[in-house]
């Protein structure tokens, strides 16, 4: 039986890697990848606690998170395609149309 703290450590490190990825990358797609990493870290947390307390609820909620991530991927990619059709860029620094 592996202690809960090991799983929490893995998910913390993975979450922070995703966060740093959002901060340092310029490409729109890689930022979406980093968001997927953070959602997966949350999933690891939920399932580790679900195992720790012997309840099934964490697994059900992680299913919801997977669903939401799929929806987010679909919408995000649609936005990227529209942007690319209009401006042919994927660099988030150049997307300053709504900045004032």
């Amino acid at each position: 039986m592996i202690p809960l703290s090991y799983y929490i450590t893995v998910s913390t490190v993975m979450f922070v890697i995703g966060l740093v990825g959002v901060l340092i990358r310029r490409n729109f797609l890689i930022i979406l990848f980093s968001i997927e990493l953070m959602l997966n870290a949350a999933n690891i947390n939920l399932i580790a606690f679900s195992r720790h307390y012997g309840e099934i609820d964490g697994q059900v909620i992680s299913l919801f998170i997977i669903t939401i991530a799929a929806a987010e991927a679909a919408i995000g990619l649609a936005i990227i395609i529209v942007l690319f059709r209009k401006k042919a860029i994927t660099n988030v620094d150049e997307l300053n149309l709504m900045k004032w």
Partner: protein, 169 residues
């Protein structure tokens, strides 16, 4: 002992491939590193006796979502650019490391980790993991389940509306 060995393999591979996901230059390589991350996270789920979620992770994430991403990468024909990182990469990594230690110190001092785990013995759960999740999903979590269905429908419609070609007026 074997369990710990498998855990170490999956954990190390998860961390390494997530670092590669945010650190590699070419978007296609990033997508493949993300695929490796998702598969190893599914391995962690199996170690946590969440077999149904692990299967869904492989089927939905690695199967459907990743294919969608790779499809868009191929469609946009992204070039590997020279400057793929922001200027603030050093400060972001520094604060990331600080944040890791901050979260871990906060977590390990909480009373949570001193509580003993309540693990169901295998004999006490005669129905499988999938049946258990299914029962919870269709009784206790019926309303959130329906709401998630509506969210998915909204996402489908939204993606269609967004990516549709606007008629020249």
């Amino acid at each position: 002992m074997t369990e710990l060995l498998f855990f170490l393999y999956f954990a190390v591979m998860t961390i390494v491939s997530s670092v590669l996901t945010v650190g590699l230059r070419s978007p296609v390589y990033c997508a493949l590193a993300l695929l490796s991350t998702l598969l190893h996270v599914a391995g962690l789920f199996v170690l946590l006796h969440a077999e149904f979620v692990a299967a869904l992770q492989v089927i939905v994430y690695a199967g459907a979502v990743l294919v969608l991403y790779i499809f868009v990468i191929m469609l946009l024909d992204l070039k590997t650019v020279e400057k793929f990182l922001h200027k603030q990469v050093g400060i972001a990594i520094f604060f990331g490391v600080v944040l890791i230690f901050e979260i871990l110190i906060g977590l390990f001092q909480s009373p949570l980790f001193s509580s003993a785990p309540k693990v169901i013995a295998q004999a006490e759960a005669p129905i499988g993991n999938t049946a258990e999740v299914g029962i919870a999903l269709f009784t206790k979590y019926l309303l959130p389940f329906e709401i998630v269905g509506i969210i998915l429908l909204g996402a489908v419609i939204g993606a269609l509306v967004l990516a549709k070609k606007v008629p020249a007026s």
